[in-house]
């Protein structure tokens, strides 16, 4: 299809041709021509946020919960700079975002014009790729290539910066969907020999463990299905990073729980003691490995990743396989079935018995109280009471995020939206909004902390405007809980600026926005309050007052190995001396 149209029309037409139905944005001088086109059409639903960062995280939530790219439209200058956090977040967590930014007209670029900034310069290190459109002829190609690059290979955010005069210019529009405009072509199929070697190594394993990550979720629903099939076929225990929760069901028989800094005892010990580690779509991040020279010292490592630069970056892989997780898993299953390997049943049984001993530690046990709500208890109750619902969970960043990961069970992929790599406080509320827009009838809950939630609280107004009945469930302990915990661990319990002395009345705040406020202070009123929250079909802020000084355990202190975990019953003395001098340097 070839048609004459303006640059602004091309943007909308490219969205339509790419199957986009929803965009998140905020208008301003340099994008007014595009907003004028939005006004004159009804195929694209535009969600007006209250802050551009909110648009970015909402698009991330939309993308993660649907598998489709999130689309954002913001203006030049501050519109673009406000997007930087969301773009960086999406880059770290491999979320496909297409962000259109307005720019001052080409003849004003470089003159420090009003609301001018070097958008491509600023966003170069926080995007997978970006473009400044300099000619109307280039615009259709760039728009479609932007979608291709954002969504294929290792997904990520892209920015298309369009000067205002180009939005007004007329040119020829061609639908270039899925036609490569650059030589960018990620490799999806894994090396066959490497896959055969990996299967042989796994088949001979005595103490295997599967370590999966967000790459499984990003590879689409087929990858999770294949992962489950492979776990069944091999009988291997499986753990996951924060980003990969849900790819394998938490109720599955082989599930060890999350691994890493706040992972379970059994998952981390299995990682430490295994003889064959199969890393699937994860990247050996420092939250996972702990002390790198003591990380799983006696294992052979198979690493499957679509990004060649992830391989041998932090941890050396014995068998690296570059490819899409779904393709590689499919081939692995094929080879496993063909070769019908004879596994060492006795050794595997002994391994499972060892895992059972670790599990018996009950590392997630905590002391319950009758007069104060323990944060872990709040998540447990939230999980139990929402079980029958079509539930999606987002989080902010901090203790509540880790408790959510530990105590909420995820059965399916794309149900868990959290800022893993960048650790962005203020992610959860707008992300929940994006999820709710994509799934209007679902129960969407932002498990939040009292500090994080205030970083993008303004998006409550967006939720009200679009009747998106998100539930903001705040574990309110009056502190930046994770900061306070680290100050206790590292800085002699000197709680420097981690206590929030002036806290809004969250119930009144909800009402001020036009939502519903609910408060629970005692364990015996929690269930009724949660049920009330679920029943309300409007945006809710739930002020759940929890024990102020609870710590998040288990924990691998910075600079320590997997087998040096602090458990929930750690004494204050142990906590005080848990981190050595070199560990104090780490974050």
């Amino acid at each position: 299809m070839t048609r004459q149209m303006t640059g602004a029309e091309m943007v909308i037409q490219a969205f339509i041709d790419q199957g986009v139905d929803t965009i998140f944005g905020y208008p301003g001088g340099a994008v007014l021509p595009i907003y004028d086109e939005i006004f004159q059409q009804d195929k694209i639903n535009h969600i007006l946020v209250r802050h551009e960062q909110g648009a970015g995280h909402a698009a991330e939530g939309y993308a993660r919960s649907t598998g489709k790219p999130g689309v954002v439209l913001v203006t030049s200058g501050p519109g673009a700079t406000n997007m930087v956090t969301a773009l960086t977040d999406a880059l770290m967590d491999s979320i496909p975002l297409v962000c259109i930014t307005g720019q001052v007209p080409t003849h004003l670029i470089g003159t420090d014009g009003f609301q001018e900034c070097d958008t491509v310069g600023i966003t170069r290190p926080c995007t997978k790729h970006n473009w400044l459109v300099q000619k109307i002829e280039d615009l259709p190609k760039i728009l479609h290539e932007a979608f291709r690059i954002a969504t294929t290979g290792r997904p990520g955010p892209v920015v298309v910066d369009i000067p205002k005069n180009i939005q007004f210019q007329t040119g020829t529009y061609v639908n270039h969907k899925d036609q490569a405009q650059t030589q960018y072509k990620p490799r999806v199929k894994g090396d066959d020999t490497a896959i055969r070697e990996a299967v042989a190594l796994m088949a001979a394993a005595k103490k295997p463990v599967l370590y999966t990550g967000g790459g499984v979720v990003n590879a689409g629903p087929a990858a999770s299905r294949l992962l489950r099939e492979f776990v069944k076929l091999s009988g291997f225990p499986i753990t996951s990073t924060l980003m990969g929760l849900g790819a394998y069901p938490a109720s599955g028989p082989n599930w060890l729980g999350m691994l890493g800094m706040h992972g379970t005892y059994e998952a981390n010990l299995a990682m430490h003691d295994c003889d064959v580690m199969v890393c699937i779509g994860a990247r050996f991040d420092d939250r996972i490995t702990g002390r790198i020279d003591a990380f799983s010292p006696n294992s052979k490592k198979i690493h499957i990743d679509i990004d060649p630069s992830s391989i041998n970056k932090n941890v050396r892989a014995d068998i690296p396989i570059v490819g899409d997780v779904a393709y590689v898993l499919e081939d692995m299953i094929k080879v496993w079935k063909q070769t019908q390997p004879v596994q060492d049943k006795a050794a595997l049984n002994a391994w499972w018995q060892q895992i059972a001993v670790w599990k018996a530690k009950k590392c997630l046990a905590y002391r319950k109280h009758s007069d104060v709500i323990m944060p872990q208890y709040a998540i447990e109750r939230l999980y139990q009471l929402t079980k029958g619902h079509d539930t999606y969970i987002t989080t902010e960043v901090g203790q509540h995020q880790m408790w959510a990961a530990q105590y909420f069970g995820f059965e399916e992929p794309n149900r868990w939206m959290t800022s893993g790599g960048l650790g962005t406080m203020g992610y959860g509320l707008p992300a929940a909004l994006g999820v709710q827009i994509a799934h209007p009838d679902a129960l969407v809950i932002d498990i939040a902390g009292d500090a994080s939630v205030q970083m993008n609280i303004q998006e409550m107004a967006t939720a009200i405007q679009y009747e998106a009945p998100i539930k903001v469930f705040i574990l309110n302990n009056q502190y930046m809980g994770m900061v306070r915990q680290w100050q206790q661990l590292l800085h002699g319990n000197r709680l420097s600026h981690s206590y929030t002395e002036a806290m809004p009345d969250f119930v009144k705040l909800a009402e001020a926005y036009g939502g519903v406020g609910i408060k629970a202070e005692r364990p015996d009123e929690l269930d009724d309050a949660i049920n009330e929250m679920i029943a309300v079909k409007r945006p809710v802020i739930f002020d759940c007052r929890v024990a102020n000084l609870a710590n998040c355990f288990p924990m691998i202190p910075s600079g320590k190995a997997h087998n040096e975990m602090l458990l929930g019953d750690a004494s204050d003395d142990e906590i005080d001396t848990a981190i050595g001098a070199s560990g104090k340097m780490l974050v």
Binding site: V120, G121, R124, P125, K128, H129, L132, Q134, I149, T182, Q183, Y184, D191, T193, A194, E197, D307, P308, S309, I311, N312, K313, R316, A317, D318, I319, P320, I321, V322
Partner: protein, 184 residues
Amino acid sequence: MMIVAGQSQSAYFLEETSTVAETHTLSVLVDNEPGVLARVIGLFSGRGYNIESLTVSEVEHEKHLSRITIVTTGTPQVITQIMNQLGRLVPVHRVVNLTKSGDSIERELALVKVAGKGEHRVEALRLAQAFEAKTVDATLESFVFELTGTPADIDRFVNLMTECGLVEVARTGLAALARGKTGM
């Protein structure tokens, strides 16, 4: 420590671990488009890699291709990581490690200005002839020499010239190609 490698021909195969920093010359073929050099340089500064020398110029006008030649130092693991990170950049077509792939030719051009009278001036001219440097500018009190050679040749020449009234030096940075009949 050597990890025994398997039989696969995977492109991302194991190398020896070593903590000794080595100097490598990378040749990077890129689309000649705005910002491509900033992407490459930003990658090096953002991830804390070294650049010892960097040259860039368009080499195939019709295809809009430029060649960037980078000399960098790092452990073998870091060098591999640099190559993989370069490979992630969308405008990058190919990355070749000329140091690792075998025999390559490396050349640099330098302009060297010396000033002086009497014996210093005579000695400067004599050394320039010995190095086969061209005299591209001369006044009664100065010369500008043009010298092409390996970076080590140029280092040697410049060091000698410090004794002969060296004023300043401009160097192009490295141009390098693999020997033999095939391209990268």
